[in-house]
């Protein structure tokens, strides 16, 4: 269980750590923070800028917080909430569908020894190698025939195909860590496999499920290629496609676009910060053992 140790912010050996080149370390940490944080800070600044400050004088280094009132006006220019709603539907659908499929498959691959187990594992892994671009052309043809173009359902189905295997590896590594004796005891008491999975295993692997859920949700929330190809009606666009439609168009001011980008990024960032610990342990378990 040592691999489950969760990162804590407690400096365990401050004495030894503090001795180590503290000035150099401070510089490196500052560089890292600026590198990672600046573009997000800049996005916020752009959304608070006026057209004059963005296109004539250059964006000020300090965000113009006095302009926060203009945000309300931007909402009438771009149907961002409709797009965010579409993104949410797609992301939620992708999450639910991939979790159900992935959990069952993960349980089978973790707890059973059977013919074709290696092949099944390989199929899951090999989806990581597959470029979406190779699939998108035939998928477009299939969806056109099945009436799934211009539908959120089609996107949920396509997105799930790519994120479900990842979710499977994350959940499988969670199940691998549960001592098998717990299940054996339940089986001796006459529990069926389905009941063991739902009442014993599931509560124990909640951290892995949560990590897989976050990854799946992110994937559905961010996905662009399928959405851009399959959805032509702007009412049905997720935020990713809606926002991308402003690239290369000069008549939509950057402050409006960046405000919408901020609205698009913020839920993901908050969600990520809130669930970070779970993501990290789930992700590493999944990626390392996958």
């Amino acid at each position: 269980m040592t691999t489950m140790r969760i990162p804590t912010d407690l400096p365990r050996r401050r004495g030894v750590g503090a001795k180590f080149g503290s000035l150099g370390k401070a510089v490196l940490i500052t560089l890292l923070v600026v590198f990672a944080g600046f573009p997000v800070y800049w996005m916020l600044g752009t959304s608070l800028g006026t057209e004059a400050s963005l296109y004539r004088d250059g964006q000020p280094l300090i965000p113009e917080f006095q302009n926060i009132g203009q945000w309300g006006g931007f909402l009438s220019e771009i149907p961002i909430f409709r797009w965010l709603g579409n993104s949410f539907v797609i992301a939620a659908g992708t999450t639910i569908l991939s979790l159900v499929l992935a959990t069952m498959a993960a349980y089978a691959l973790s707890r059973y020894r059977f013919h074709g187990r290696g092949v099944a594992g390989f199929i899951f892994f090999s989806t990581q190698m597959l470029p979406e671009a190779l699939i998108i052309v035939p998928l477009y043809a299939i969806f056109a025939g099945a009436g799934l173009l211009n539908s959120h359902w089609g996107l949920v189905l396509a997105d799930t195909a790519f994120v479900m295997p990842v979710a499977m590896f994350i959940i499988k590594s969670g199940i691998d860590k549960i001592p098998f004796e717990i299940e054996e005891a339940a089986r001796i008491d006459g529990c069926s496999r389905v009941r063991i999975l739902t009442t014993i295993v599931l509560p124990l692997i909640m951290p892995s499920i949560a990590a897989a859920a976050v990854i799946a949700f992110f994937d559905g929330w961010n996905e662009f290629m399928f959405a851009n190809t399959f959805i032509s009606s702007s009412d049905l666009w997720p935020a990713s496609v809606g926002l991308s439609s402003f690239l290369g168009q000069f008549y939509t001011p950057m402050n409006v676009v960046m405000f919408c980008a901020l609205l698009f990024a913020l839920p993901a960032i908050i969600f990520f910060l809130w669930a970070q610990r779970g993501i990290v342990s789930g992700l590493t378990a999944g990626s390392v053992k996958g």
Binding site: P7, P11, R12, A18, K25, L28, I29, L32, V33, F35, A36, G37, P39, M43, T46, L54, G58, L101, M104, A105, A108, R111, Y112, F114, I123, Q128, M129, L130, P131, E132, A133, L134, I135, I136, V137, P138, A141, I142, A144, G145, A158, A161, F162, E184, R187, G190, S192, R193, N222, M225, L243, F246, G248, M258, A261, A268, Q276, I279, V288, G290
Partner: protein
């Protein structure tokens, strides 16, 4: 290693033969007996429909002259699409671009990510907040990231050009000058993906046995020596996996390049995947696009095979030590 066999109660552990699985009635027994396949069935069928079948159809499509106006299928042309591609400069440029983009992205994101993780794993004030800031880019949606960078790279009002001209380095057409196209998309990608490497490496660092490191200090090793002797070997498996994943993901990455440069300027960022998309939906040539995709898959497979060979060799060396 867990097994699916059931031990008889109160017998010697692990010695008992597998017992009949329990279940109530015929249906229950059927479920118990074929549990593995029943649990696996939905996911495998799903992948068969949405991954394997389209993959095969895509491969078949690559031997036809299918156009976007008639996606159901065009006339078969044998290996014509492949012949055309293998003798076209544009295709080979695309291969080289993909390899360069992958190489730079992996080197920088794995390098900075690992170094950052080592840095953030040491003790200092405000570590929690710093870690959160350093890993935020991973949570920023790709389209939002692309918009931010397009604005940063903007010719007249972009902060990058304002900085370079303030430093006396002049202004550059980051997105229109072929010299800088690859740099522009690589920087944005590294920004977006380094946090993922950092998160994974931070978590790997959590499981480095501290007792072992302290033992080397007692033996008089310097911090660097104990890093080489204990920490690095412990990180190697994770480092190898994340490098492989970053490599495969870079070969198939589409969004950030397509959105920032659209494959331009003058095709310098036209990676294989962007090339597939443009050939399919701009040139409307589905057959040829599928052929590019198939060759891209071959590239991914080659990289993976090389990775596994290298890993085998390394593991053999490690076990011989």
């Amino acid at each position: 290693m867990a097994t699916s066999t059931l031990e008889a109660p109160r017998s010697t552990p692990r010695a008992a033969p597998p017992k009949r699985p329990r279940g109530s009635g015929a249906v229950g027994r059927f479920i118990e007996r074929n549990g593995a396949y029943l649990f696996l069935f939905p996911a495998i069928v799903y992948l068969a429909i949405f991954t394997v079948f389209p993959l095969i159809r895509g491969l078949l499509l690559s031997f036809t002259a299918t156009k976007l106006v008639n996606p159901a299928g065009g006339k078969p042309v044998g290996v014509e699409n492949y012949e055309y591609l293998l003798s076209s400069d544009k295709f080979w440029t695309s291969v080289v671009t993909t390899l360069l983009y992958t190489l730079f992205t992996v080197i920088f994101s794995v390098g900075i990510g690992t170094a950052g993780a080592l840095l953030l794993n040491t003790a200092f004030k405000g570590r929690g907040i710093i870690r959160a800031i350093a890993t935020i880019p991973w949570a920023v949606p790709t389209v939002a990231a692309a918009l931010i960078f397009v604005w940063i790279y903007n010719n007249e009002q972009g902060i990058l050009n304002r900085t370079t001209s303030a430093l006396g380095m002049g202004q550059h057409g980051w997105l229109v000058d072929p010299q800088y196209g690859l740099f522009a998309v690589t920087l944005a990608t590294v920004w977006k993906l380094t946090p993922l490497v950092m998160l994974v490496m931070l978590s790997a660092l959590q499981s480095v046995p501290q007792e072992l490191r302290e033992a080397t200090w007692v033996d008089g090793a310097t911090r660097f020596q104990s890093f080489l002797a204990v920490t690095l070997p412990h990180l190697m498996p994770t480092l190898r996996v994340i490098t492989l994943l970053m490599t495969i993901w870079s070969i198939r990455r589409f969004e950030i390049i397509f959105l920032i440069t659209g494959g331009g300027p003058l095709d310098v960022t036209n990676t294989l995947v962007v090339n597939v998309y443009r050939t399919a939906f701009q040139d409307q040539n589905l057959g040829r696009a599928a052929a590019i995709g198939a060759l891209g898959l071959v590239l991914s497979l080659l990289v993976t095979v090389v990775y596994f060979i290298v890993e085998q060799i390394q593991e053999r060396q490690e076990s011989q030590r």
